[in-house]
Subunit: 280 residues, 2 copies
Amino acid sequence: MVLVTTCMSIGDFSRATHLTVKTLRHYHEVGLLTPVAVDPQTGYRRYGTEQLATAQVVRRLRDLGMPLEEIRAVLAAPSPEARNGQIAAHLARLTDQLESTQRAVEQLRDLLVHAAPDDAAVELRAVPQVAAAAVTDVIDAADGTGWLQGALGELYATVTAQRLTPAGPAGGIYADEIFTDHHGQVTIFLPCGGVSGSSAVRPVGRVLPAAIPAAELAVMTHHGPATDVDRTYGTLASYVARHAIGVPGPIREYYLIGQRDTPDPDQWRTEIGWPAFLTR
Amino acid sequence: MVLVTTCMSIGDFSRATHLTVKTLRHYHEVGLLTPVAVDPQTGYRRYGTEQLATAQVVRRLRDLGMPLEEIRAVLAAPSPEARNGQIAAHLARLTDQLESTQRAVEQLRDLLVHAAPDDAAVELRAVPQVAAAAVTDVIDAADGTGWLQGALGELYATVTAQRLTPAGPAGGIYADEIFTDHHGQVTIFLPCGGVSGSSAVRPVGRVLPAAIPAAELAVMTHHGPATDVDRTYGTLASYVARHAIGVPGPIREYYLIGQRDTPDPDQWRTEIGWPAFLTR
DNA sequence: TTGCTCCTCACGTCACGTGAGGTGGC
DNA sequence: TTGCTCCTCACGTCACGTGAGGTGGC
């Protein structure tokens, strides 16, 4: 059986698909849309008419911002169901992006309308060592919020299942690299003391017993969701710098009221703790 | 008067703003966020507490996808009104993008659900030379739709003002570079013959009299808005390739029913004309 | 003194766009 | 034969991220 394919030059294929010649050459180079034939003498590319449909799909997926690597996976999907799943996953990402853009718009308005939080609310506090159940991981800052919710859920579930009583609000210890590199170690903990100050929690899944060290902190309470927590960080950093009380060490957060407590983000309260020395 | 500025290291400023150290150095390099002081010996950067507010604005504008160059312009705005105008312009662009993404989703669904247009509807046609009023420009393909509406509006307004009667539907002549480079010459014309075949139109604004040359075309009608006109182009190109009747020359479009005629996009009709020879 | 912070290159990423300089096809 | 199409480098764009390799500050 001989398959006779009707061919067209790259110029005709460009007019037919509304993809530029440069783009078509690029798609050839990365193996996304390989011409049916390439003249070995001249390097001239020949595209088959049956490639028009593929090009139309590629164009629409690119219009949706899908990376070339993922488009290649869609084209290679073993079944229509797999293909639809990949596309649906990308559309879900687009929806997430849209929501985060809408939040960014509100944040910007907030920033331009409302004054910076007042640093009169900064409090200096020495926290003692506590025994706790803890989850530790190295994460990307971008994944922070989702990861935090998962860790808190696992901590509360584990502590409850073991019939222990939390001895204070949950907290987090953030390595500097989380801020300076957007990638670093985070520990989320839930205080629950046992005999002689060591945690009574038994390891389950990611949850381990841990001793959370004592610290001296400049503390300020952030009101609302984490999206604009940087404003509270700024005020706190400014306070610490003006009083020249900064010391090295990881930043802490304490989750007083959050998603688990009330669905109203305005009522959420998070304490930010910046390492500081309290005595002069 | 001596201004004493409280300073912080790049590391502290990173923690305070949640911008990475690499990002802060980049913003310094491009002049977007210049430290208040740089140690001439060591190159160490010092940031002032009053720069925290600026950094917070920058971060939110970046979250909205605003380019660094535009953010610089926002920061340098002479008045709050100018600033708000620049931000509003960017938000309008975001809204446009959102709409175009939503259209892309529908287009993709269409492509996966509906079969390609049938090439039984392709018609071979010889069009004679006509006298016309015309607007010619070199444009980017991305600006095509908006530019086309403007040109059509100007053509119809001019012809009507000069009490001339259109002698047929408006059309467009698209240089190959519009498709192969996404940048090239386009002529939009409205036939209106005068004495002895030359256009009676007097030049006004961008509108000039022109003789639109005769052509032999393979023609197919596109139904609906221009967003998925590439499907009709593909079917037409396939037809021309299979019958081996393609000849060089610019592509034409004829705007039979459009935005000017009905607000319902499903009723819009555009003829696509692909250069072809009619005799064998 | 040690370890940590900070520094400057130099190069990579992603999806192309922009020339330069040259050759094949009708 | 002319002019057009097509070719391959090589480099640019944008907003950073990723090491390498080295120095200053507490």
